[in-house]
Structures are given as structure tokens and as C-alpha cells.
């Protein structure tokens, strides 16, 4: 269902609207949350709770969503990432033996890809995302799946109908391309 119709339904009949919203986007929100929580020692119920929090917040703060600024899909992805980051930090603090400032542990959780540049933070982010889009398919999908959804090369290969080695090679080349664009060094 397109966003304008979904939004009208959410306002006119919240129960039906939320049912439709979750049917449409629960899979995506789950993937985003799982991608962030996969390395944070979270169990499936943590992921489900987090997904539920995302939809609950979307509903209770519906007045804050502005369809002129973004699609519902993008808005939910950002909410999901935000909630998942919060849960990940709490879990890591609970574990006690992982410091958020520990660069090595962060490298273990996230890729060691970094971007160097003199651009202001917001502008840098927009440039990176734009460049990521500019990689074209299937590279942009591979990067999104790997670093946003946290999928493995095998999972990505299955979905995109590629071989695992092809996925790894494309990932390596795409990251080098991005590094080069932003003044970093190729690896």
C-alpha cells in the first residue's frame, strides 16, 4: 500500500492501519534491528521486543512523522536503527567486559572500513550515502545488506543469486572505491 493511503488508514482506523503497516514492514524492521544486534549477544526475544518498540513508537508518535520529508519505509529504518543501537549499548554495558570506547572490539563488531575527509559531518554522511547509491546494483545492495542488515556473504549470495566469492570480491572493490572517493587509502 502506498504511503498516502497507509497514512490515511492509520489516522482513520489505527487498528487496521497498524495491522497493514506491520504486514508491510515488519520483515524490514526486523532485518535492520537484527543487523545491529547480531553481534551484541542479543537473543531473538530481544530483537522481537525491539521491533515491537519501533512500531509502538511510530504509532504513539505518529504526529511527528512528516511524509514530505521521507517515506514511511525510510522513517521506520531510522527508528529501528536508533532503537537497536540503544539496546546494543545496554547489552554491552550489562556484559561489562566490552568497552564502548574499545576500538578493537568495535572493529570486531563493525567492519574496519573508515572514511577520511575534511567535510562537515552531515555533508560527509550525505556524500557517503550518495556515493554508495552511485555504486549501482548489485554493489549498493551488497553493502546495505552487509553493513546495514548485518547479513553474511552466504546470505547475501543466496538472495542476490551470486556466488559467495563474487559477493566478497564486490564488497572489497566497492569499499575501496568509496575509500578512494573520500581520501582514504585502498586496502
Amino acid at each position: 500500500m502506498e504511503d498516502s493511503k497507509l497514512l490515511r488508514l492509520l489516522h482513520k482506523d489505527p487498528s487496521t492501519g497498524m495491522e497493514q503497516l506491520m504486514n508491510q514492514y515488519a520483515g524490514l524492521v526486523y532485518a535492520v534491528v537484527k543487523g545491529k544486534l547480531a553481534e551484541s549477544f542479543c537473543v531473538s526475544t530481544d530483537i522481537e521486543d525491539c521491533v515491537a518498540d519501533v512500531f509502538s513508537e511510530f504509532y504513539t508518535e505518529l504526529d511527528k512523522y512528516d511524509p514530505k520529508i521521507s517515506s514511511i519505509k525510510s522513517y521506520l529504518c531510522v527508528l529501528a536503527r536508533y532503537h537497536a543501537t540503544d539496546v546494543a549499548r545496554k547489552r554491552e554495558r550489562q556484559r561489562g567486559d566490552v568497552s564502548l570506547d574499545d576500538e578493537d572490539s568495535l572493529l570486531q563488531i563493525a567492519d574496519d572500513f573508515t572514511v577520511e575527509g575534511d567535510l562537515a559531518e552531515d555533508e560527509l554522511r550525505r556524500e557517503v550515502l550518495s556515493a554508495l547509491k552511485g555504486l549501482g546494483e548489485p554493489d549498493s545492495s551488497i553493502i546495505i545488506r552487509k553493513y546495514y542488515f548485518g547479513e553474511s556473504s552466504k546470505e547475501i549470495a543466496d538472495v542476490l543469486k551470486l556466488t559467495v566469492s563474487n559477493v566478497d570480491m564486490r564488497t572489497h572493490r566497492a569499499l575501496n572505491k568509496l575509500r578512494k572517493l573520500f581520501g582514504g587509502k585502498e586496502v
Partner: protein, 472 residues
């Protein structure tokens, strides 16, 4: 500067993700996981889980309707949707009919059926019908209908919405901060004015004072300056040291009698004196959720909204009572399940007189009730998706012996056109909670041209209707 790709994703804004619409795809969740997530969402938000209608029935009706071109007729069979009809007598409201005041210089027009159809959302009603909606209420008196106007012409309005300014909000807070915080038992006086946005992009200003999980919120929005109380956890509001309650089954007269002292106390607390009381009952989700008591004084306006339904068109104070069901499972009312407790007292001050808000653009010749009944018989009804194919697939309701009728103005979402309709109500039984159910349908109350062409053209919309697409 160094940045990890994951940090880039963490900090990205929604509009920056729109470009990845194609890449942001994920498989559907397994049924049991989806069901688990939904259950948690419903528990957190207190939304009722959608009761699925017999979708397979819709599939059968949809398939049959798609094979035939049917012209709508609203009069054939009388099936009961739930229990047997208990035989509600026709209801005729008391009171004086409204007399519209229209300047002689206002032009005459004849509306087109397209104009009329466009004031309604073209989505299927959640009750599974689009030829009529379902309304729930305990007594026909609670439908809020009034005597039909006796007029040759009815006004067609447009709306002129103005949001109060930040300085107006500041003045409003200055006027009521002390009385409101004292009334609600809040010692905090510090506040900060913030700017916020509605889902439709309209900006507005707000401020709040809060302590110990309760507070007062001051807002400037939708032509009004207002404040209301909120609390997290305990939702019962104490007045003068005691909780205030009424029974769900109380009549309007019983409510007025029980609340006489409370109303006096509330008005005196804010330096107000009102002459009228209106009581509205909200039957959201088919059960009684809230009872709201409006205190106001009748003002002469060109718009009759104060006569029957929300929104109010003059300054007012409202007292909102939540029923045990309406309060939510996590609130733990305690006590009798039949009591509705006071949860909020709000004060509204319209920043703009309603004669400025509703502007009479034109006038149109009013149809007599007999003429409107003729349109009803032909099936020229409005209220949502008007495709004859979909309407023919619905359980039919015989409106020829309708229970009551009202004049109701309906506006499109932008307020460009506000049009009068005859709203026909037909009692069709009781729902699963024992609440009387009415089918409600709209017929234009003024002259309209192009009915046949309009309903024929709606068949094109049949393919574009999301619900039809879903069921094929």
C-alpha cells in the same frame, strides 16, 4: 575525520535513506514471529487486534461483482449483521431547528457529484463497508442529531485555518499558568516554548510544566490555544482532593446532577462562567471509551456545529471521563468496572472567531427530505469508496425505514469545501458487546448534478482500490 560505515548508517536521517528504496528489502517474517511482534505492539499501544472479517466471503463477493456490471440499489433485503433487530422506533430529536444566516449577495451554485464525492476519503471503511459506515451508541439521543433546518438554501463553506502565534501562546500561558498548576497540583512553573509539526507539515507551538510523572501541556494549534492535563501511570485526576467518577450507564441528566459541584469548582478555578453543557460519548472500537462533558456558552455563529457534534465552535472547558475499558489494561482503575473516572480537564480558547474560520463561499438550494429519500432509493449515496461494484458486494441495508435523519456538514481534509448532507441512520442490531449499531449513509442535502456519470466513473476506481487489489 574518520568515520565508520556503521556510524554513517547510525546517524543517517530518514530522507537520506529514501534513495535506497530498492535496496531496503527484506523477506517477510515467519507467521509465528510476526504474530509475536504484533501481540507485543498491541499490548504496548492498547490497540485492539483487528477482528478479521470473513475475508473469504469478500473474495467470493469480489469475484462475483467483478463479473457483472451492477448498478447500486439500496433497497432490497434486510439482513441483520449481528443480533436480531429489537425494533427501535423512529427517533425525532427535540429542540429548535437551525436557521442558516446567509447574506443576500452570496451566489447560488449547483454542485457536481465530483465535488461531493471528493470530500470523502476514497478508502474502504474499516468496518468492511463503503456504502455506509457503522455507528455505535447506547441510545439514539446520543447520536447528537438535531431537528432539520427549514430553509430554502444551505451555505457551502470553506475553512480559513489560522495557527496562533508563539506570542499568543506566551500570553495564554501567562494568563493560566498559576491557576492550571494549582488546580492540577503541580509546583513546577518553568517551561520552554517548542515548535513541533503535525503529520501534515503544519507547524505549531507548545510548552509544558511537569513533575512526578504528571504535567500540564499548553498548545497553540488548529485555531485554538488550550491546555490539558496528562499523567504517566495513574490516570485518575483528583479534584479538590478527591477522585471524580460517573457511571457508564448514567443519562445526561444524571451526569449533570452528579457533577454540579465539580463543574462549579472547575469554572471558578479558571475564572469562567458558562451557560450550557453538552455531553458526548465516544464509542471507538465498538465500546464506550470516553464520556466528555463540554462547558460552553452558546454564541451566534453561522455554523451549526455546536448544536450537535464536535468540534466545538466556541471557547469551552471539557472534562473527560475514561471508562474501565477505555483506560487501557495497564491503568488498573480498581473499583467497579461500570465507573468512568475523570482523567483530564482541558480549557480551550479559540484564537479566531468561528465566523472567520467558516467562510460562506456560496449557497445551494436545499433538497426536501422527500427528494433526499428519492436519492437514497436510487442508491446515490456517499461516504467513501463509491464504486458500484464494491458497494454491490456489501451486505445490504434497507434504509427505506430509517430510524432518524440529520443534516451534517462534511469537509475535505484541506477544508476547501464543506458541504451539507442528509445523514440517514438505520438501526441494524447490536454488536458483540451489546451496543446498538446503526448503519449511517450520506445523501447530498443540496442540488447536485451528474450523479449517473459520477457513479459510472467510479468503476474505474475499482481497480485502484487497495482492498480490492489485495483480495484480487
Amino acid at each position: 575525520m574518520k568515520k565508520k560505515l556503521n556510524e554513517i548508517f547510525d546517524e543517517a536521517k530518514p530522507q537520506e535513506f529514501d534513495q535506497f528504496s530498492d535496496e531496503l528489502n527484506a523477506p517477510e517474517l515467519p507467521d509465528e514471529v510476526l504474530a509475536s511482534v504484533k501481540g507485543k505492539v498491541y499490548a504496548k499501544t492498547n490497540l485492539k487486534k483487528e477482528v478479521k472479517t470473513t475475508k473469504s466471503v469478500w473474495l467470493r463477493f469480489g469475484a462475483i461483482a467483478a463479473c457483472f456490471l451492477l448498478i447500486v440499489s439500496a433497497v432490497i433485503v434486510v439482513p441483520m449483521l449481528r443480533e436480531e433487530d429489537i425494533g427501535i422506533e423512529p427517533y425525532i430529536p427535540n429542540g429548535e431547528p437551525w436557521s442558516p444566516i446567509i447574506d443576500s449577495s452570496v451566489r447560488d451554485i449547483v454542485l457536481s457529484a465530483d465535488d461531493v464525492g471528493n470530500v470523502f476519503d476514497a478508502v474502504m471503511d474499516s468496518n468492511g463497508t463503503n456504502q455506509y459506515t457503522q455507528i455505535y451508541t447506547s441510545l439514539p439521543e446520543y447520536l447528537g442529531i438535531t431537528p432539520l433546518p427549514n430553509a430554502e438554501f444551505l451555505p457551502i463553506y470553506s475553512t480559513n485555518k489560522t495557527t496562533p502565534s508563539k506570542s499568543e501562546l506566551i500570553d495564554f500561558i501567562a494568563e493560566y499558568l498559576d491557576s492550571a498548576t494549582e488546580f492540577f497540583g503541580i509546583n513546577e512553573k518553568n517551561y520552554e516554548i517548542k515548535k513541533d509539526e503535525m503529520w501534515n507539515g503544519d507547524a505549531f507551538f507548545k510548552a509544558e510544566v511537569s513533575e512526578n510523572k504528571k504535567g500540564v501541556r499548553f498548545t497553540a494549534r488548529n485555531n485554538s490555544l488550550y491546555f490539558h492535563y496528562y499523567s504517566i501511570g495513574e490516570r485518575r485526576l483528583e479534584i479538590n482532593g478527591g477522585k471524580v467518577s460517573i457511571l457508564e450507564s448514567d443519562t445526561d441528566e444524571q451526569i449533570k446532577e452528579k457533577l454540579e459541584n465539580t463543574i462549579t469548582y472547575v469554572c471558578n478555578s479558571f475564572g469562567k462562567h458558562y451557560t450550557d453543557i453538552k455531553i458526548c460519548r465516544d464509542y471507538s472500537y465498538q465500546q464506550l471509551k470516553t464520556i466528555t462533558v463540554y462547558l460552553y456558552s452558546t454564541e451566534e455563529t453561522i455554523f451549526p456545529s455546536n448544536f450537535s457534534k464536535e468540534p466545538m465552535t466556541s471557547d469551552y472547558i471539557s472534562l473527560t471521563f475514561y471508562t474501565d475499558w477505555g483506560s487501557g489494561t495497564y491503568c488498573n482503575w480498581g473499583g467497579s468496572k461500570e465507573e468512568a473516572f475523570l482523567s483530564d480537564v482541558s480549557l480551550y480558547q479559540t484564537s479566531q472567531k468561528w465566523n472567520d474560520y467558516y467562510k460562506i463561499d456560496s449557497k445551494a438550494k436545499m433538497l426536501t427530505l422527500e427528494e433526499a429519500e428519492g436519492l437514497l432509493e436510487k442508491g446515490y449515496v456517499f461516504g467513501g469508496h463509491s464504486c458500484p461494484l464494491c458497494m454491490a458486494a456489501q451486505p445490504e441495508v434497507d434504509f427505506s425505514d430509517y430510524t432518524c435523519v440529520d443534516i451534517e456538514y462534511v469537509s475535505d481534509e484541506n477544508g476547501n469545501m464543506c458541504i451539507p448532507f442528509y445523514a440517514f441512520y438505520k438501526h441494524i442490531g447490536k454488536n458483540e458487546y451489546g451496543i446498538d449499531t446503526y448503519a449511517k449513509t450520506y445523501v447530498p442535502a443540496v442540488q447536485v448534478s451528474g450523479y449517473e456519470e459520477y457513479f459510472e466513473s467510479q468503476k474505474d476506481n475499482h481497480k485502484n482500490n487497495w482492498y480490492v487489489d489485495e483480495v484480487g
